[in-house]
């Protein structure tokens, strides 16, 4: 089990993946908006998204879990 975390304070601009999706290393889970930039958050682990904890418009803090991949 691996967690995809937010690296910085940001708005969740787009949720690209969905719970239950199978993902490969480097796939985009969400796109955050911060520092006037759209920053894709990629997974470093392959597997299935068992938990997707954010929705578009949410604010995430540094270290917040975005998704859990099993």
């Amino acid at each position: 089990m691996a967690e995809v975390q937010a690296e910085m304070v940001a708005n969740v601009w787009k949720v690209v993946a969905a719970q239950g999706d199978t993902v490969a290393v480097g796939d985009t889970i969400v796109i955050l908006e911060s520092m006037k930039m759209e920053i894709p958050v990629l997974t470093e682990d392959a597997g299935t998204i068992t938990d997707l904890r954010v929705a578009e418009g949410d604010v995430v803090q540094e270290g917040d879990v975005i998704a859990v991949i099993d």
């Binding site: 520092m35 930039m37 759209e38 894709p40």
Partner: protein
């Protein structure tokens, strides 16, 4: 321990090896693996000192190395073993060649008491004297604990294999003092040191890969080569940038385009918003430093500034030209950053660049704003040459953000529906008068606007035309 000449050492080693069949952990075996076949010559005797030193060649490049001997007291460092390491350093400094340490040591020898501590301290002093004089590479294959932890830490580049463990005090002591329960790998293995502490520059899958990386680094730093401009052809790097200027992207493909072949990245997972990497351009070793917009939007922050500062100083100390690729929205705002010393650590990067004498070329691909603009090898800090792509914007902040501050009153005075049009007009005016790439060229802070398709040759030419230079300083592990 006695220092002996090569002939005797080779003879006695043969006698020893017939008695004891090869143990893969034996320092002699590890050193023979590190050097080109048949080139290893011991500098010290194969005895119970706990370390063996020797010289040899790596892809033909001369180098010196030493290895701890985990078969004797777990590789613990006593006075004699420390002398062996010192003799490796003496030889490396005398010959001006890289020195590589293969670490597998539990620390200072308990049985020798303060004598072993004194010996370990002398090793640290030898490492510091050699700092910036010859490249120092450490390969941590087993534990490097206690005193042995600081051996690798004082060197320029630390490679850790999967079995490597670096810590000052082990899990048992940690538990008895703080109550924290953690195993050796969790405390000081590749994961914490590669990602969180920054102690380790490179994590290798296994010992073979760790040694292979040390070999490549020794050649990159020990035999830097001459830049052959004629062999540098252009690649159109434009494909790397996304269509939207707001969209973050991974900078690695751009670096791959720039170099002859993929380089060796240092601190890949630690402070990944700044990429630091050694590779070759036109056959010559160069250091590449790049903001990575995919991580933290490419912001500079306290860790990445410190990482970059150390890299700049290492390259400068060894005469490795730098290529600095800039796409950063600025410094990362936040309480954590300020309290974490972003000012103190950011100052290290300013200092590192301002004192560097090595040729250093800047390429601004997209954004370069504020304090981060200055820190990323700006003209003011002494950049040899500053290039910008036509897509570049340079300023205190982006034009729209600047206009919202400067034109706040004007914008507030008009009805809301007219604001977007007014803002657009103010942005154009701002770019014409203050911002914009043309102004940067006019001021001389950008030398030339170049196309992505002519970048490789432009950077190669700028390095080739700059007089070679090398900083006269050590490489303190910042």
């Amino acid at each position: 321990m006695t220092v002996i000449d090569n002939r005797t050492a080779t003879g006695s080693a043969r006698a020893l090896s017939t008695e004891e069949p090869a143990d893969p952990r034996a320092p002699r075996i590890r050193l023979e693996t590190l050097f080109d076949d048949g080139t290893f010559r011991p500098l010290t005797a194969e005895d119970k000192s706990g370390a063996l030193a020797g010289s040899g060649r790596i892809e033909g490049t001369p180098a010196v190395a030493f290895a701890s001997d985990p078969r004797v007291q777990g590789g613990a460092m006593g006075a004699a073993g420390c002398e062996a390491i010192e003799s490796a350093y003496d030889a490396a400094v005398r010959e001006r060649v890289p020195v590589i340490g293969i670490w597998h040591s539990g620390g200072a020898r308990l049985a020798e008491g303060v004598e072993s501590l004194h010996g370990v301290g002398k090793v640290f002093a030898a490492m510091t004297r050699a700092s910036g004089v010859v490249p120092q590479i450490s390969v941590v294959i087993g534990p490097a604990a206690g005193g042995a932890a600081y051996g690798p830490a004082l060197t320029d580049i630390v490679i850790m294999s999967q079995g490597g463990r670096v810590f000052v005090t082990g899990p048992d002591v940690v538990k008895s003092v703080t109550g924290e329960e953690i195993d050796m790998a969790g405390l000081g293995g590749p994961e914490p040191h590669g990602r969180r502490s920054g102690v380790v520059h490179m994590v290798a899958e296994d010992d073979t890969e760790a040694v292979a990386r040390a070999r490549r680094l020794a050649v990159l730093l020990g035999h830097q080569g001459r830049l052959r401009q004629a062999e540098v052809s252009d690649v159109d790097m434009a494909h790397v940038l996304p269509e939207s200027p707001r969209r973050a992207y991974d900078v690695h493909p751009l670096i791959d385009d720039l170099l002859d072949e993929p380089g060796l990245e240092l601190h890949q997972k630690w402070a990944p918003n700044m990429v630091t990497l050694l590779g070759r351009l036109g056959g010559r070793t160069v250091g590449v430093m790049a903001n990575n917009p995919l991580r933290l939007g490419g912001c500079l922050d306290s860790l990445s500034a410190e990482k970059a500062a150390r890299f700049v100083r290492m390259c400068d100390a060894f005469g490795v030209p730098l290529v600095v690729i800039v796409d950063t929205p600025g410094y990362l705002p936040g309480v954590g950053q300020e309290h974490g010393g972003v000012v103190r650590r950011g100052a290290k990067l300013l200092h590192a660049f301002a004192e560097a004498t090595v040729p250093r070329i800047t390429l601004v691909t997209r954004k370069s704003f504020g304090g981060a603009y200055i820190a990323m090898n700006s003209r003011a800090l002494g950049a040899t040459r500053v290039f910008a792509w036509p897509t570049a914007t340079i300023g205190v902040m982006g034009a729209p953000a600047a206009v919202r501050v400067l034109g706040r009153k004007k914008l507030a005075a008009v009805p809301e529906e007219e604001r977007p049009a007014l803002e657009a007009r103010l942005v154009t005016e701002y770019e014409e008068t203050v911002g914009g790439l043309d102004r940067a060229v006019e001021l001389g802070v950008v030398d030339e606007v170049i196309k992505p398709a002519e970048t490789r040759t432009a950077i190669a030419r700028a390095i080739a035309e700059a007089p070679p230079a090398r900083g006269n300083h050590g490489n303190i592990p910042l």
